[in-house]
Structures are given as structure tokens and as C-alpha cells.
Point group: C2
Chain length 397, copies 2
């Protein structure tokens, strides 16, 4: 129970930034005295610091503001992409304090080699974090594939050619608990945590496009994972059942119209050897009013709108957020998406027909990485006992 | 807290049928002594009865079995259909003790007239229930339309021609709290409560076809309602975006291929003046190997499979259950549905590709009515104080 209350104090400060003891007490529904005891323990453990009127005077004066520490435990986030590996360290306040980007050559996604590379990056990240007096209290890894619910096993990642790869034995131990999840889910969580306003009150569909197209379905602030952990496969929703063949084996999936390869091909841009890098070029052509590029994006938007019409009819979310690389194309992509939704969804309110709002993500392509790091931070805040006694915390001295 | 514990005793018995005091204690995690006090109060209030070894001897002997009373409070369920009104009374044990079916003439769905008719039926039902010493402790009404979340207002019911109809002022008061919900949601809850085995562990998509095609999405045992209460509109998921026009204004919605009117037309059966009554005839023709009927059902199954592929890719349910009138066509409808799902969904498990199981509902067309009545019963079990002091209960004497 005490652990639970310590955790609630930490989460209150993570959500609000800075609070007085009285404000913490009000938020979590404990007495001022109980909160003072908890706060003292967290201050001694180095997880909080104090600023404002009380800072240099008597600790605990009413006006003093508490904030989470910017030293000590932090969350490590990692993203495995088709063409890149990225890792970052986020402190308890949510600031990214170190980040390493690594570009991978074409081909060669053998799991052992990729994870050895990632392990090296994480060790470099730990060394860099240590110079800021930060140590990893948890690691979360975003992958472009399906992850079996509650495990670290990638069941299937078609764009990496992975099947049934358990990441746990291939990653460094000693960086705290490991979480592995689909990049779309972490992208949606970033949207929820970093941009709460944009996410409405927390029921939305978050489209996360890279090479493929995934989505996360957030219902009342939680990701809907599905029976096996495979929910959100928007890229394989049928758009035209007799349409072009998809690598998944079906025909006319959304990815065959709006996946990166299809989109670049329709725009007359060769997919090339560097996947992921050419959406910006496409956006430039659209901005320059290139007719072929505009038509390609319009058609992709239309296909996306048809697939999303199915999702909105089924789920009735407050909002649809387009993230990932498609977000760069928002000015040209969103109008046809909205047109299809207005035409094909049953939503009515107060007798007037209003379509579900569609917006581009403001976070951009860093979403999955930030969501992963934030998830590691939040996991750490759930278990204060671990933070108070762990290496480098200087706790309980 | 005591009310909450009384309610837990009642729900334990509703779930299990008959339990000894010790078994109740084990299930709800209270001491034997605490449970005995609660049980005594419920026995005095007439909400439980006792049978088995202890029945005629000393009350409370270890071996005696407790069951919910089959007299006293009951739940009233009602269903408003395009061509019928049905009402029933379900006792606390889940048995339907009275039911009245009323066939409506063609046309004429003016809300005031329909609800006056329904009020008359509910009054007759109350009179019949009284002859079994049952009184209504709650009323739940299933409607073929969208109901605004948390209200008794039908926002839109296209097949009735209703928009923004608040049922509360038009129904009898004095039958306990009123709940109004979409028939598909009540149908799914019936599947969950009456046929738990069939529903897997409680995450499934339940298709509920009548004139239109609705669905309920059940996640971990709860209906996903959506931001406005409009989730589950499977009938308007696009199957072929340029397909036939749908009364909703879009093109190629599932209903234009597998809705009752489309299905009967494709089978060469005129939709006729009595909607809802001809699926049985179609099933007979299929059983007699009528080629036109078989092709019509196969095409409808294919369209249903395409729309469900989208739903399964997005939601990853344990199972899909086909209820409502389409359940009658299961032998001919399910093979094409399964074929499309096998082709178009990404689900893999243990390296083998396995499609999400699809089954026909065993409850049949009574699902929404039974789900509504059961919902009224469960609502009553949530508030034992009301049951212990209400008319006819003979409580606290």
C-alpha cells in the first residue's frame, strides 16, 4: 500500500510537472500529513527535488514546489525499423537527454545481427546517460510487427522477415524490465501522453505508417490489444476485395494503395534502396503542385478513408489521428480521407450529420520511440521500491 | 459496503445456480461468518431460498444449497422490431416466465403509436407476471438503431424512420429503472451470459442481423460502445467502395450485399410485405439445393467475410459469432465467410496461420430479447436494497 501511494505521488508529478504538497494531497486524495511522509521518503531517495520559496529554507514549506528528479533512474526507448535503429534515454520528467540514431544498410535483417547492433547502441546510450547521472530503470522496444500479448516475442514482422523471435535473450540485461510492443501502439501512447489535447478524451484511432500501415485503437486511454495482441492491422483491411495482390497473400489490402511502396510507385518515384526516406520528397512535389504526385496522394487518401470508414463504423472513436510518415502528407492526404469518412460513416449527433474529426499527428515520426521511452518511464514510476534501492540512485543512504 | 456485498452474493448465485454458504464465501472472498449474515438477510427478504439437506431442518446447515428466489423481483425485457414487438419477464434465476409476441402491420412506425402499443403489452405482462408472484424490478428495451450513450434516446433507427426519440416519457413508469440499447449489443450480451462457452473468454464480434446488419464488439466481457454509443455498425463497413447505393447514402456497404432485402432479391424472393419472415424460406431453398438461393447466400457470405476481415484485422477477437436471422443460414453462409477470413486476416499463432473461428449463434433470433431481460435482472441484482424493500417483495416483515 505504501508502495502504491509512493507511485501515485510520482505519477501525479509526472502528469502535472510541478505541484506543492497540498496540491499532491488534493490530487491523490490523501491527507497532507500522509503526503509529507511519502514526499520525504522520495526526496531522501533522490526521486524528487524541491524548488520555489521553500527551496533553500526549511524543507516542506507550503509554497515550495515539488518536481521529479532529472538525475537517477530514467527510461530507455528503442525503435527497430526496416532501415534504422534508434535509442533514447528519457528522464522522469519526460525530457529526452540522450539519443543515438543508426542507419542500417539495405537487406540483412537477421535477428541476431540486428539485436547485437541494438545491444551495442544501448550500451553506448547507457554510457552517455551516465555522464548525466542517469541510469536505465526499464527498456521498451518498438518493432514493426505483431508482438504476442504480454511477451517479448515478435510473432511476425513481414518487413523484417521475422517470425517468432524472442527478443529477451538477445538484449542486454541490467537495463531494467523489458517491454516489447508494436510501433503503432507506442506511437498512439505517445500521442496520448505527449499531446493529450489532440487525442480528445482518449478514444481514438491512431494510424502509424512507415513502410507498412499499422494502427492503434485507444479506448478510454488504453490500447486495445486484441485476443493475441494483434489488434490494429489497418494495413490489411480490404479496400477493394479484388484489388492488387498484397505480400500478405490477400488482395486489395489498404497497403496495396497507401503503403509506402505503392504510394511512391504511383507518384513515379522509384521505391529505391532507402525505404522510409522518400515521403519528404513526395511532400515537396505535392507542395510544388506536381500533378502526378498529387493524384497519387489523393488516391492513397481515398483508400485510407475507405479503410478508416470501416474502422469508424465499427469503433465510433472521438477522433482519428494520422501519424508516422503519412503525417508529412497531411495537407494533401487529409481532404480525401475526410471526404470518404463523411460519405461512409453513420455517425449523427443531435440530428445533424457530423463526421469523426481527422487530424495529422503533431509528434511526427519520433512517436513510437518517444512512446516506448515514456512507457519505460511510466513502468519505473509504478515500482518506486526498485528506484529507491537501485544502482546509482544513491538512495537510503 | 454491505449493499455491495449483498450484491456479490446475489451475482455469485446468478452465475452458478446453486451454492452452499461455504462456496459463496470462497467465491467472493469473505469469511463464512460474514456470508452467513448476508445470506440470512437475503433469505428474510425473500431473494434467496434454500434447498438440500438443510432445507427442512436447521437453516444454514453446511450441506444446504442456496438458490435465487423464483418469486419476487424479476427483469422485464422488450424488443422493438420493424414488424414485431415482444416482451418477456425473466426471474432472478434467468428463466423466462412470461412472454407476449405482437405482430405489427406493415408501415406505421410513428413513435407515439408504437410505444403506446408497447406500454399496453408491458401492462399485460405485469399482470401475467403477478400471477406468478413476480414484479418488475427493471425494464430493458432493445431497438434496431443507434442509442446515445447512457441515455434512453434513439438517435437514429433508419428501418423505423426514427430520429431523436426519447423513450423514457413514452413508457410506463413503475417498472423499475429503464435501459435502452441497440439490439446488437443485447444480442451479444445474451451470447456472453447464456452461452459463455461459445463466446470463448469474452472477446468476440457478434453479428446481429435482422432487416439491417449490426454487430457488437465485446472486449474482455464488456460491450465496446464507442464515443457516442454508435460502435458496431458493421452493416455500413464498405465492401466494394463503388458498389450499389445504400439507403445510408454511401455505396457498397455490407448491407447492400448481405442485408435481408438484398439477399432475398438475389435469391429471387420478393422482399414482400412482411420483412423478417422470409429467411426461413431461404434456408429451406438452400437445404433443397436451389442453385439461385445457394448462390445468393454464398455471395452474401463472401461480402460478410470481407467486412469481417476488416473487423478481425482491427480487433483481433477470439471469435466471431453470427447471430440474428443470418444464423439460420449458417450451413451455407459460414463456409464463404471462413474462406474470406482465412485469406484476408493476418492472424498467426506459433508460426502456423490460423483464422479466427466463426460460429453460428445457438441462441437464435431471441438473443436481443433475452439479453435485454437478463440485463434488467443483472441491474436489479446490483441494487439489493431496492429489492429488499420494494412492492410485493414481502421483505423486512
Amino acid at each position: 500500500m505504501r508502495q502504491h501511494n509512493l507511485s501515485r505521488v510520482l505519477h501525479a508529478l509526472a502528469d502535472e510537472g510541478a505541484l506543492s504538497r497540498a496540491e499532491v494531497a488534493g490530487r491523490i486524495g490523501l491527507t497532507r500529513a500522509a503526503v509529507s511522509t511519502l514526499v520525504d521518503e522520495l526526496l531522501r531517495g533522490g526521486l524528487l527535488s524541491e524548488r520555489g520559496p521553500g527551496r533553500s529554507g526549511s524543507v516542506g514549506r507550503p509554497g515550495s514546489q515539488l518536481v521529479l528528479a532529472d538525475q537517477g533512474p530514467c527510461g530507455f526507448g528503442a525503435e527497430i525499423g526496416v532501415d534504422h535503429l534508434t535509442v533514447c534515454a528519457m528522464d522522469l520528467r519526460g525530457a529526452v537527454r540522450a539519443r543515438i540514431d543508426h542507419r542500417m544498410g539495405p537487406g540483412g535483417h537477421e535477428p541476431g545481427a540486428v539485436l547485437a547492433e541494438l545491444t551495442g547502441l544501448l550500451e553506448r546510450l547507457a554510457a552517455e546517460a551516465a555522464t548525466h547521472r542517469l541510469w536505465p530503470a526499464g527498456l521498451a522496444v518498438a518493432v514493426p510487427g505483431l508482438v504476442a500479448r504480454g511477451t517479448a516475442t515478435v510473432t511476425r514482422a513481414p518487413n523484417l522477415g521475422w517470425r517468432e523471435v524472442d527478443l529477451a535473450p538477445l538484449l542486454p540485461s541490467g537495463q531494467g524490465p523489458l517491454t516489447v510492443d508494436n510501433e503503432a501502439n507506442f506511437g498512439a501512447l505517445a500521442e496520448l501522453w505527449e499531446e493529450r489535447g489532440a487525442a480528445g478524451n482518449g478514444s481514438f484511432v491512431h494510424v502509424s505508417a512507415r513502410i507498412g500501415i499499422g494502427a492503434a485503437i485507444v479506448v478510454d486511454g488504453a490500447v486495445l490489444r486484441g485476443a493475441h495482441g494483434f489488434a490494429g492491422e489497418l494495413g490489411h483491411v480490404p479496400v477493394r476485395p479484388g484489388g492488387p495482390p498484397c505480400p500478405c497473400g490477400a488482395r486489395g489490402c489498404l497497403e496495396t494503395y497507401a503503403g509506402e511502396a505503392a504510394l511512391l510507385r504511383a507518384a513515379g518515384l522509384a521505391p529505391g534502396t532507402e525505404p522510409g526516406g522518400r515521403t519528404g520528397e513526395l511532400a515537396e512535389r505535392c507542395a510544388a503542385r506536381d500533378a502526378v504526385a498529387l493524384r497519387a496522394v489523393r488516391q492513397a487518401g481515398s483508400a485510407l478513408g475507405i479503410a478508416l470508414s470501416g474502422a469508424v463504423n465499427l469503433l465510433d472513436p472521438h477522433q482519428v489521428v494520422i501519424g508516422g510518415s503519412l503525417a508529412e502528407l497531411s495537407p494533401w492526404l487529409l481532404p480525401p480521407v475526410r471526404r470518404e469518412l463523411a460519405r461512409r460513416t453513420m455517425l449523427t449527433a443531435g440530428g445533424r450529420t457530423t463526421a469523426t474529426p481527422v487530424t495529422g499527428s503533431l509528434i511526427g515520426p519520433a512517436g513510437p520511440l518517444l512512446g516506448a521511452a515514456r512507457s519505460a518511464v511510466r513502468g519505473a514510476l509504478d515500482t518506486p521500491a526498485r528506484l529507491l534501492t537501485a544502482p546509482g540512485g544513491g538512495a537510503m543512504l
